[in-house]
């Protein structure tokens, strides 16, 4: 709008704009056109968690991806190591992308360790985007494949000491 009579107000950034900024930084969505990305940003939701709240439960088919805006969460496995936290996820991390493309069972439980705010996206909604922008599927697939290769590469180099057990399980990128 060009009118100069409109007075400048302190703008609050809309949630949509904020989501769009976040998504643009994420590897998982890097292949998406701006049009598709806008739609994804529009379909995202914000969710707050208190410490101890579950983001998802082991064996659940929740089909949700999370981006952590603030706070920290940790994954555990039921009946293993007394439910100790195996790994933590922090501000700025994106997880659960795979759940957006296939109906999968969670192998972990994800629990909020502090107060958290997340941007969430569900598979049902993401599927709608894929229906509208079919070319996205191929790009997402590529991103996932690349991630698998990178992951196994890291596994092979960093986990060399564990090679006795891991060696037998190698070949994830040969899927």
């Amino acid at each position: 709008m060009s009118s100069s009579t409109e007075k400048e107000q302190v703008p609050r950034v809309s949630e949509f704009q904020a989501n769009l900024e976040i998504l643009r930084q994420l590897q998982f969505f890097s292949g998406l056109s701006l049009e598709a990305l806008k739609l994804v940003a529009y379909l995202c939701a914000r969710q707050d968690f208190r410490p101890g709240d579950l983001l998802f439960r082991q064996d659940e088919h929740d089909g949700t991806a999370f981006y952590i805006v603030s706070g920290q969460a940790g994954i555990t496995r039921d009946n293993e190591r007394g439910g100790a936290v195996l790994r933590t996820y922090d501000k700025g991390e994106f997880l659960g992308g795979l759940a957006l493309v296939c109906d999968m069972r969670r192998l972990f439980t994800l629990r909020a360790l502090t107060e958290m705010t997340c941007v969430t996206l569900t598979r049902d909604r993401f599927t709608k985007v894929l229906e509208q922008f079919p070319e996205v599927t191929a790009k997402v697939l590529q991103t996932i494949a690349e991630a698998i290769v990178v992951w196994e590469q890291r596994f092979l180099t960093e986990g060399r000491e564990l090679s006795e057990v891991c060696g037998r399980m190698a070949g994830m990128s040969l899927l």
Binding site: Q9, P11, V13, Q17, N19, Y42, R105, Q132
Partner: protein
């Protein structure tokens, strides 16, 4: 109504004439006879007017004859109208009958038929193609009889007037009989073609629409366009040819008709000049001859309609010429009451094209035993279930259900004793209650099954809703219902009580998730209009959609200088939403967070363009109105594309106070302000209980709120009332307002309500999450074990332990059959499926 034994698809067109009822046809004939007489009368009067009245100068006679003439004409028109009405009624009744019987018949055709048939094909057959056959039945007696009789009457009159002239002028018609049929035959050939191409065309359209994701996914527009265009071109050509012949028939007919006056003028003129024919007779002759044209044309039209109807009717019926696999009703006996045993012996099923889907299957189940069918897709497990459920007719071997051969049982025998839940159960347009009762209602309808034929009670329905785990969903639908004003007064007061109790017990706990209505705070989950007025309107002129044109309200906005900021917000929303939603289809997922409804998107898109070109201030008043409408709908908690600025928020809060003062003096009854002691009729039951809005739609939060509300509803004994309201929820066409899981649960609920002896579940829980699946499996293991024979096609191996028998299918055969423990101990196929290939225990 007369009925023949032939299936409807084999009945000749003429049979419908008889079926249309002899009484109306006879009445029609009678009226026709009168009319023919009344039609000939004016001719004689005409002659007499000229010869007796005018020539003789007898004024009195002139008046009498003219009076009679007028009367004859009026009566003839009246009768004509009557005939048309009758004819039409007969035709429409025949058409309705044809449609009904064909539809009833089509529904019974084997499933294989529908795999090859596009829905569009059936639609066009029932809706358009049969129409001409109906027309024909209406005309079938009336038109030919009227025309032929009138023709004979006029011809007779002509002969009586002057035999020579008559013979000459009628001599033309026999020639027509030679030429016309030949032209018509060609038109028929073209018409047959046309019907075929139209059919291919409609199934192509149907296919493209159903497979649109594939077309867009592959970008195969050109390919599809070419295929379609070729068909349309073909149709174009054939229609032109068809019409060429049809017009040729008409023109040819006209030509012959116009030739005969020519002959009359030549010969009659000659005779008149010679004084061998009086002038009155010539006038009468000419007009009688002219009148020959009408019945003749009717006759030719009838001939054309008949030919067209015949071709279309034949073509349509040929298409549906199949034989249902099973008879619908038992022959002169009550439906069997079958024991729940199943015995399969040497069962094979060969599909069209010689593909062997099932190969010598043997198994047996005692009443109440449970069988799980597992195996890879394509192994034939679903086919086996469908054969046992009589959905397919097996090609050899036997299936004995309660000792009776399934292939020979009637459909009613089956539905009285068996329940089937398919992979993607279909939910029909209607309420939850109607869908829940679908299986029971179809058993009760018609002849019934004997015994106790009553529909289940509400309590029974609620029980199955709970068992299948869809209870909370239905409750939710009930909570989201909006009560009609002044109805359920009793319920409204009770809900106020629930509201108080809920606030006391859970208010603090849920304050993070619920935005309670508070007069001093801005409501992010209510729209701007509600924020300003803080109440629900009691007059239509103050409803959100009417506020932008409500002068009083607009003046108020100007007074508190809100007009311009609101327009700005409206403009921003418009631009952003149009930008995001672009040209997306009207999927509810895209529009649930949009203040613009799907049907308005086009208008707002154009508005957004004007806004960008001209700027906000130079827009027309109508555009301003539409932007204001958007702004008033804006709910920051839901519509996330735009943020609500702080200054505007403050402005609106101040406006709220001003508005209340103003309306209190000007029009106190216009609004009911939100008060915790009043029921708010413009809002849902849920919002009334919360006295506010739930902030998120996230399931865990929703569950927390649900749990708390259910608790209070139980305490206040209102739970069932709300669920009953929820059962009136309209599920939408094909149940599109329900999720896949909800549809499956509903399908299982409706079969449980029916409580059949034999239950077949064909991957009936595939769309359910773990917990729901476990719940249903629990139900199967406890409630159905020993009472209901169960055959379940299962794709998940973690739920099969408790089945009495497990059949592992492989390539159309049973690879293994036994209990879970037996099969695992055998270390065969099941073991491999469960533990993976080559894995150690």
């Amino acid at each position: 109504m007369e009925r023949t034994d032939l299936p409807v698809s084999r009945r000749p067109l003429s049979s419908w004439i008889l079926a249309s009822g002899l009484k109306p046809q006879a009445l029609l004939l009678f009226i026709i006879l009168i009319m023919v007489f009344v039609r000939v009368l004016p001719l004689e009067l005409q002659k007499r007017i000229v010869n007796e009245a005018i020539r003789a100068g007898a004024m009195r006679l002139l008046f009498i004859y003219c009076g009679l003439y007028l009367a004859a004409v009026l009566v003839a028109s009246g009768l004509r109208y009557l005939i048309n009405v009758l004819q039409n009624a007969i035709g429409e009744r025949a058409l309705a009958q044809m449609r009904k019987e064909l539809y009833h018949f089509i529904l019974t055709l084997p499933l294989a038929f529908f795999r090859k048939t596009q829905p569009g094909m059936v639609v066009s057959a029932l809706v358009t193609e049969l129409a001409s056959a109906g027309d024909f039945v209406g005309m079938a007696i009336a038109v030919p009889v009227t025309s032929v009789l009138t023709l004979f009457a006029f011809a007779g009159y002509l002969l009586w007037l002057n035999p020579l002239l008559a013979v000459i002028s009628l001599g033309v018609y026999p020639m027509v009989f030679v030429v016309l049929p030949q032209l018509q035959n060609r038109a028929n050939v073209a018409n047959k073609h046309r019907v075929d191409i139209t059919r291919t065309l409609s199934s192509r359209i149907g296919e493209a629409i159903t497979g649109i994701h594939e077309i867009q996914g592959n970008g195969s527009f050109r390919l599809e366009n070419r295929r379609f265009d070729d068909l349309v071109d073909g149709l174009f050509k054939i229609r032109i040819t068809w019409n060429l012949y049809r017009f040729a028939v008409k023109v040819c007919n006209n030509l012959f008709n116009n030739l005969s006056p020519f002959l009359v003028f030549i010969v009659g003129g000659y005779l008149a000049i010679k004084g061998r024919l009086d002038l009155g007779a010539l006038v009468a002759f000419l007009s009688a001859q002219e009148k020959l044209y009408d019945p003749w044309r009717d006759l030719v039209d009838f001939y054309q309609t008949y030919q067209d109807a015949r071709v279309r009717y034949r073509r349509t019926m040929e298409y549906f010429d199949g034989v249902p696999d099973h008879v619908l009703e038992p022959d002169k006996r009550k439906p069997h009451d079958l024991e729940g045993s199943v015995e399969v012996k040497d069962l094979s099923f060969v599909a069209e094209g010689g593909i062997q889907l099932l190969d010598r299957i043997n198994l047996s189940l005692r009443p109440g035993e449970h069988l799980a069918l597992i195996g890879f897709s394509g192994s034939g497990k679903s086919t086996l279930a469908q054969c046992i459920g009589q959905l397919y007719k097996y090609t050899s071997g036997h299936i004995l259900f309660g000792g009776k051969e399934v292939a020979e049982l009637s459909k009613r025998d089956m539905i009285c004793n068996m329940g089937f839940v398919s992979q993607d159960p279909f939910t029909f347009d209607g309420t939850i209650r109607e869908n829940l009762l679908y299986a029971c209602a179809s058993r009760v309808e018609g002849n019934g099954c004997g015994a106790s034929e009553v529909l289940p009670s509400v309590d029974e329905m609620i029980a199955v809703l709970q068992q299948t785990g869809i209870f909370v969903d239905v409750l939710r639908f009930g909570l989201n219902a909006v009560l009609a004003h002044d109805e359920h007064l009793d319920l409204a007061t009770k809900i106020i009580r629930v509201r108080e109790k809920f606030r006391r017990q859970y208010g603090g706990q849920l304050s993070d998730f619920v935005e309670f209505l508070e007069e001093s705070r801005y409501l992010y989950y209510a729209n701007i209009a509600a924020n300003l007025t803080f109440g629900s309107p009691n007059r239509p002129s103050f409803s959100v959609e009417n506020l932008p044109t409500n002068k009083y309200f607009l003046r108020f906005l100007d007074e508190i200088s809100l007009t311009s900021p609101l327009l700005q917000v409206g403009g921003e929303i418009c631009t952003q939403t149009v930008d995001i939603l672009g040209s997306l289809p009207p999927d509810p997922v895209f529009f649930e967070q949009s203040p613009i409804a799907p049907e308005e998107l086009d208008d707002y898109r154009q508005l957004a363009e004007r806004l960008q070109r001209a700027g906000l201030t130079s827009l027309a008043a109508a555009d301003h109105q539409r932007l204001l409408e958007l702004a008033l709908r804006f709910t920051p908690g839901t519509h996330k594309m735009v943020a609500l600025s702080e200054p505007l928020e403050e402005l609106l809060l101040r406006g709220r106070i001003r508005f209340r003062e103003k309306i209190a003096t000007d029009d106190p009854g216009a609004f009911s302000f939100y008060k915790s002691s009043d029921y708010i009729y413009s809002q849902s039951i849920l919002d009334n209980i919360l006295f506010g809005k739930a902030k998120t739609v996230i399931s865990s939060v929703e569950e927390k709120i649900n749990q708390s509300i259910i608790q209070v509803l139980i305490e206040e004994d209102l739970l069932e009332t709300i669920v009953e309201i929820g059962m009136e929820f309209q599920v939408g066409t094909m149940g599109d307002k329900l999720s896949g899981g909800q549809k499956q649960k509903l399908a299982i609920a409706r079969v449980l309500l029916k409580a059949p002896r034999l239950l077949i579940l064909d991957e009936a829980t595939s769309a359910l999450d773990n917990r729901s699946q476990a719940r249903i499996q629990g139900l199967v293991d406890t409630k159905l074990k020993g009472t209901t024979t169960l055959i379940a096609v299962v794709h998940r191996l973690d739920i099969i332990r408790n089945y009495d028998k497990i059949a592992v299918m492989k390539a159309g055969r049973i690879g293994e059959l036994g209990t879970y423990e037996e099969l695992i101990a055998r270390k065969g196929i099941l073991y491999e499926l469960v533990y993976g290939k080559g894995a150690g225990p």
